[in-house]
């Protein structure tokens, strides 16, 4: 099973996502701001990051760009989980290097399924 980092500043959503991903058999870490997330990505090298957009200190888009700019983190998959709903937001997320995009309010079942599909990609 994969190592996943959940980056979310809402403690209830974070706990829920961590719980459901652990239930799916993954090893799950969590962070609540952008800087802590980037530090955890560099030290823990997770297979996948579930990343909120609106975060304290460093937003999700900046984290995404920093990961893509770091050759040592090549292969880290990123799923953006965000309340931003405009088409332009989706384009910005993919342009910044996100692999998948899920809009809030969200279904944890869908999140787990998308996570599995993303991890299965070559």
């Amino acid at each position: 099973m994969a190592k996943i980092l959940v980056v979310e500043d809402d403690p209830d959503i974070s706990a829920l996502v961590v719980h459901k991903l652990r239930g799916a058999g993954h090893t799950v870490l969590d962070a609540s701001d952008g800087e802590a997330a980037l530090a955890a990505i560099r030290s823990e090298q997770p297979d996948l990051v579930v990343l909120d957009w609106m975060l304290p200190r460093m937003n999700g888009l900046e984290v995404c760009e920093a990961v893509r700019a770091d050759a040592a983190l090549d292969g880290t998959r990123i799923l953006m989980l965000t309340a931003k709903a405009q088409e332009a937001d989706l384009e910005r997320a993919f342009a910044a290097g996100a692999d998948e995009y899920l809009q809030k309010p969200f279904s944890t079942r869908e999140l787990v399924v998308r996570t599995q599909a993303l991890l299965a990609r070559p």
Partner: protein, 285 residues
């Protein structure tokens, strides 16, 4: 004598300053203590909250504080999820009397409580009726929250009331109302009901915008009628909407509207663009 008065004023000012600092410190300290207690209570009930999202029928804790913390957490989370998680949380909240509590909260004195009660009620009940009076609440924040919550709840039957709130003197912004209507997701123009015949062209403009945005094919007769309105903005928006709906049956109505339109106007541009979108382009005159 003058020195004495000045001295007393100085002492009084210093006393008032010290008192103010004491009050500020006390308020800050009590806020920190309350936040910490809230956080501790939230952490304690978190495992129960997660059990609820796993579909377990968790009994309401006997301890009042824990019961309130679990209810508050579940009520906050129910808006942030959908699908099975939302169904599980909403079911648990309904079974434990939170729908009735939300109904009581709609009449609360504090605006924030009324807004929160409306949001919670709409997450737990399909009938938006009880919250509609809050669309004319005295507080703008309550009105805006209710409109947004109606949209999130997919309350299609509330669409005429939302549009009415957008044009009311004490209502909500047009953009907030339009977003809520789009989010409610009407599948037919009939969801707008009396709005199409409203005496207020602003209401019909909003309906035209949303119908065009959503591509509601059965809005065509209403939009074609709006092309003959005395309100130029409505005529322009109706033309844009007909272009988006995309029915070639509208070409005749657009051509007729083009005859009397002011050359070089925004309205003319909208009609020409709509005709082009319907594969019936015309040259600007």
């Amino acid at each position: 004598m003058r020195y004495d008065v000045a001295g007393w004023v100085l002492v009084a000012a210093a006393g008032a300053t010290v008192l103010l600092l004491v009050v500020i410190t006390a308020v800050r300290a009590s806020t920190i203590v309350a936040n910490r207690r809230h956080e501790r209570e939230r952490s304690e009930v978190l495992p129960l909250l997660l059990e609820i999202t796993d579909g377990a029928d968790v009994p309401l804790p006997g301890d009042r504080r824990a019961a309130r913390a679990l209810g508050t957490s579940a009520a906050a989370l129910v808006h942030k999820v959908r699908g099975a998680d939302r169904a599980d949380l909403a079911g648990w909240l309904r079974r434990n009397g939170f729908r009735e509590e939300a109904l009581r909260g709609l009449r609360a004195r504090r605006p924030a409580r009324r807004a929160a009660a409306a949001e919670l009620y709409l997450a737990l009940d399909d009938d938006p009726g009880p919250v509609l009076p809050l669309l004319s609440d005295t507080h703008a924040r309550v009105r805006a929250t209710v409109v947004r919550a109606l949209g999130e709840a997919g309350a299609v039957t509330a669409i005429p009331a939302i549009v009415e709130a957008a044009v009311a003197p004490r209502g909500v912004s047009t953009s907030t109302a339009a977003m809520a209507v789009v989010q409610a997701g009407p599948s037919s123009a009939s969801a707008f009901g009396p709005v199409w015949d409203s005496a207020d062209p602003r209401a019909r403009r909003l309906a035209a915008d949303v119908a065009g945005h959503l591509g509601l094919a059965d809005a065509r007769p209403h939009l074609e009628r709006a092309l003959r309105s005395e309100d130029q903005t409505l005529r322009t928006r109706a033309a844009v909407a007909l272009g988006r709906v995309g029915s070639p049956l509208s070409v005749g109505a657009l051509e007729t509207a083009l005859v009397g339109v002011v050359r070089g106007s925004v309205e003319e541009r909208a009609i020409l663009d709509a005709l082009a979108a319907l594969d019936s382009p015309r040259e600007a005159r």
